[in-house]
Point group: C2
Chain length 379, copies 2
């Protein structure tokens, strides 16, 4: 309730279950008490990795907790591991891939192990209309999208909560013993009418923060790339873990990518506003054609005044996700603002980019079925 | 809180974690809303079993929910299964064996399967001073006492919660989704400062009520022999299970056996007041010698006035647990009340009876180590 009302007061809602309103990321940093990812940090990352991922350079990942410490430790030879995940309430869409793609980049550049958690338990507990069998099925489908991104099977463990509960439950109990109802009430806005599974669940989401420390029998730093809406879980983890003798996990937070209708984050609950990884080229074309742009009311006006890239979802997708070339994106912006190009051209360009990405992804997704077991070893 | 205060008002406390004060079992039946086990029910049991166990005949088990229904279904050919358990917070003592012995009798006489749950998770969550490693170790120790009683390995599954969590967690989630914090607050007296593990735990204790129904893929009646202090869990189970499509579990409730110091139930937290299954003959002798009796202040007074069996813990143990012969117990009572025998004699008699039982039990307990795995199959 606390955070929800606080954020609502500033006319935006950001909780693990709801993101809506006009998001002011500067205010979010202030309210959540996180830090902005600055040039100095990016330079240090570039020094190690030899490059900076576009998601970092263009500010799609904008906020962090303890990222400086993660790099300090790395420089000292104390390597971190990665942890991210997904609540499997439906098919995977482009919005989900953001954290996963950056996680993959960190794995490649820093040689980091990854625990990827699929919380079929959580989605069953919070969604009235979903059965556990359904969320578990979604978890298995989502896992194929994770694998399709090319994670190293030797360094990656995909955890489906109900299937790994023999390991997770024991550790979750230790976490749960340190958390009161008052605390989760304040952080997640639970009420007396919340179900007791939902109340307990945070314990399960916290466990992967120290799974690698258990495995290595020593404290291993953990870096969590995630949407900033997931921060409440890990803020809680940062409170609890030192009490169990583990490091606080570090986090790196992304902005939300808009739904094709604009406003709020891309959400599977509005399929027409969402690009799923399983969409056909025609579906993508149709969805993109209907997308909200920064175009003017008439062609004449647009030729005269130019488009408004800052209001354009097509431009947002190109800028953050599909046009990595700095020169080309600059040029496109200029040509839009000068009225030289119209919305149809950008829509076609983005459709081509997305369909090229999806064709490749869908092929890899099919192949993923053959190697899925390698990613789910006994713990 | 609700129950705790209600019961406290009548100067006794009966919750799953605390039993104290002078227990009035008639009031408990009224307050908990259970039914007394009457002659008619006992006759029906005798008709099937060919006998009535002394614990039933002498009223150590005095209360029930739906026992009549269990027998009705049995008569129709719809066999029930048994479920009981133990919170492993220490070594096993005589008080624990009461439900287990009656459960064994039901297994023998009615050919019933048994799920025996050892809640190492619960005891870790509710006891500040115990680690999960400790409660798990106690669970394995307690399991030996269960097996020593002679349960049929083909019909008995001993479930240690943290070790069976892959099966239990999935089902517990379905239970948890149907229970709100308000409900567990009212039933167990939780507060906002209770830890979220404790709040969730009831879900785990409810699962074995329908494990056999899952296995047989049809609804199977469940009978739970337990101390009446455990009723809140199963009252909750009776509320939830129909919502998941299962029968309400039936229960049969025992009284508490007194600690050797008298008052409240035998508890491992006062070792000198408790007979553990691992006690040596000398330890038993020492403890029994110090036990509170119904004897008078001096030998002269006792010869003159006779002892008070109704206040005597030694007599209570003989009556309920160790002197099944109706004639002999009547005779002892008469001889005590007439001043013919003194406390020393009864103490020696009980010590002998207990030590004979323990000698046999301890031998079987040693052998149990060889067959423990048969009782813990994959589910």
């Amino acid at each position: 309730m606390f955070i929800k009302y606080l954020i609502y007061y500033y006319s935006m809602i950001v909780t693990p279950w709801e993101v809506s309103g006009e998001i002011d990321y500067d205010k979010l940093i202030k309210k959540f008490g996180t830090e902005r990812i600055d040039k100095k940090l990016l330079d240090r990352i570039e020094n190690i990795a030899g490059e900076v991922h576009p998601f970092l350079k263009r500010g799609l990942f904008f906020s962090h907790r303890d990222l400086k410490w993660i790099i300090d430790e790395y420089d000292k030879g104390n390597k971190f591991f990665l942890y991210t995940g997904r609540g499997p309430s439906g098919d995977t869409h482009l919005g989900h891939l953001i954290s996963w793609i950056l996680t993959k980049w960190f794995q490649d550049k820093f040689g980091a192990k990854l625990y990827f958690q699929l919380t079929d338990d959580e989605k069953f507990l919070v969604k009235d209309n979903l059965t556990l069998e359904q969320t578990n099925k979604f978890a298995h489908e989502n896992a194929l999208d994770v694998i399709a991104l090319g994670f190293d099977p030797k360094k990656t463990t995909i955890i489906i909560d109900t299937e790994y509960s023999k390991v997770l439950y024991k550790e979750a109990l230790k976490v749960a013993k340190k958390i009161t109802f008052s605390t989760v009430k304040a952080i997640f806005g639970f009420t007396n009418e919340s179900n007791i599974g939902k109340i307990f669940f945070a314990s399960f989401q916290i466990v992967p923060c120290f799974l690698e420390s258990i495995k290595q029998k020593k404290n291993v730093p953990c870096l969590i790339p995630c949407g900033i809406d997931q921060d409440p879980y890990f803020r809680l983890a940062r409170d609890v873990l030192p009490k169990l003798g583990y490091y606080k996990p570090a986090e790196i937070h992304s902005k939300f990518i808009s739904g094709l209708g604009g406003g709020g984050k891309m959400s599977a609950s509005i399929p027409s506003s969402t690009i799923f990884t399983t969409d056909s080229p025609n579906e993508v074309k149709t969805k993109i054609n209907k997308t909200l742009t920064g175009g003017r009311e008439t062609v004449e006006l647009q030729r005269k005044l130019g488009g408004e890239t800052e209001k354009c979802v097509i431009y947002e997708y190109l800028y953050y996700l599909f046009e990595n070339d700095d020169k080309l994106i600059e040029e496109r912006k200029k040509n839009c603002k000068s009225g030289k190009i119209l919305c149809g051209e950008c829509k076609n360009y983005l459709t081509e980019k997305i369909n090229k990405f999806l064709k490749d992804h869908q092929e890899k997704r099919l192949k993923a079925k053959l190697i899925v077991k390698e990613f789910m070893p006994d713990l």
